[in-house]
């Protein structure tokens, strides 16, 4: 399930860029973009969202005024061009502070902070770049970037890397909630794949380093959304 977010930003080019970043992440659903605090408040007081991307200086009221008036407190990422707001950001307990313009990598870092800050069991462990698995009587560290895909084998799963396969007692359902959601995606009830390792996709299968992996109908749309299709 995606997080819902709203963008409050008076600079169109910045808002468009943020929308693009949100779409690219595959984790966020943009519910709206507002160019001033009044419009945003009207929406936010009627609709609850998970995340607020908030500019500080806008015509009329400021982003901090909006936070003062909100009936609830979503996770907030400030987007501004002034680093001087860092102290206020701290006071308002915002999750991160993006100085415009920012790279997609920096945006991803902010999302990682969100997953940690959310304290959600489904996502709290997803911010790291590695995992440890129990294998052959020891804990083995696997870097996310080394994992091609994870395959279900009944009560066990197989982690496939370019050099080696690791079998451990676990389930895809459990792992789906534990792995980094920026890197991994479930494509089938029996497979989680590293989104960065796909070589090609044909109909209902995808290929990673010569391995053919089925993509179920239920997951296909999500997978395609995560790809940089031009």
């Amino acid at each position: 399930m995606k997080w819902t977010c709203v963008i409050v930003e008076d600079l169109q080019v910045a808002a468009d860029y943020l929308v693009k970043c949100c779409e690219k992440s595959g984790l966020l659903q943009v519910k709206g973009h507002f160019t001033n605090v009044e419009q945003a408040l009207e929406y936010l007081n009627k609709n609850s969202v998970d995340i607020l991307f908030l500019d500080v200086e806008m015509p009329g009221a400021s982003g901090f005024d909006l936070l003062d008036q909100l009936a609830y407190y979503p996770k907030v990422i400030l987007t501004t061009s002034k680093s001087e707001y860092a102290y206020n950001a701290f006071e308002y307990n915002v999750t991160d502070f993006l100085k415009k313009p920012f790279t997609y990598q920096r945006f991803q870092e902010a999302l990682n902070k969100l997953t940690t800050a959310a304290g959600d069991n489904n996502i709290s462990s997803t911010a790291t770049d590695h995992i440890f698995i129990k294998c052959d009587g020891k804990l083995v560290r696997l870097n996310n970037d080394d994992i091609l895909f994870i395959e279900s084998m009944g009560d066990y799963v197989k982690f496939v890397t370019p050099d080696k396969k690791y079998i451990t007692h676990n389930t895809i359902k459990n792992l789906e909630e534990k792995v980094n959601r920026l890197t991994f995606i479930k494509v089938h009830r029996s497979y989680i794949i590293n989104i960065n390792k796909i070589d090609d996709i044909r109909e209902n299968d995808l290929f990673i380093k010569g391995n053919e992996i089925p993509v179920s109908k239920a997951h296909k749309a999500d997978v395609l959304k995560r790809l940089n299709i031009i």
Partner: protein
């Protein structure tokens, strides 16, 4: 942004910090074209906001207007112009009347006008480049 990896590389004007642009959008020239187009669409309105605020001696609006426009230049690979805007914003913060800003204002108006010309020229080149690729 989409990492389109065209084999052909667009040559930006030397005043544009292309490395900075690539750090934001990779070599997604279609998207860079969109960014330039959006910037141009809103440029005159934002520029007029600055001029109006200066002419009516409204320092608060002048500061807000330049603050709003400032990051635009970062998005189109002109971080130096973004810094010039930041400096002007600082001047506005310290000034008590727009008369104190005459010289800086005249300079920034020229910088903004030149920047618009550059953005428009690059946009046209990008459009042509992308249409040739497609």
């Amino acid at each position: 942004m989409n990492g389109s990896n065209f084999s052909k590389k667009f040559i930006f004007n030397e005043k544009i910090d292309s490395e900075y642009l690539y750090s934001l959008y990779e070599d997604d020239y279609q998207y860079i074209e969109e960014i330039f187009q959006t910037t141009l669409t809103h440029f005159d309105e934002d520029f007029k906001g600055i001029q109006r605020a200066y002419e009516t001696d409204n320092l608060s609006d002048l500061k807000k207007a330049i603050h709003k426009m400032k990051p635009t230049f970062g998005f189109v690979g002109l971080p130096l112009v973004q810094n010039i805007c930041r400096d002007f914003e600082d001047f506005c913060q310290k000034a008590t009347s727009s008369n104190e800003l005459t010289s800086e204002y005249q300079q920034i108006v020229v910088t903004l006008a030149e920047s618009k010309e550059l953005i428009a020229s690059e946009y046209n080149k990008l459009k042509e480049f992308n249409s040739n690729i497609l």
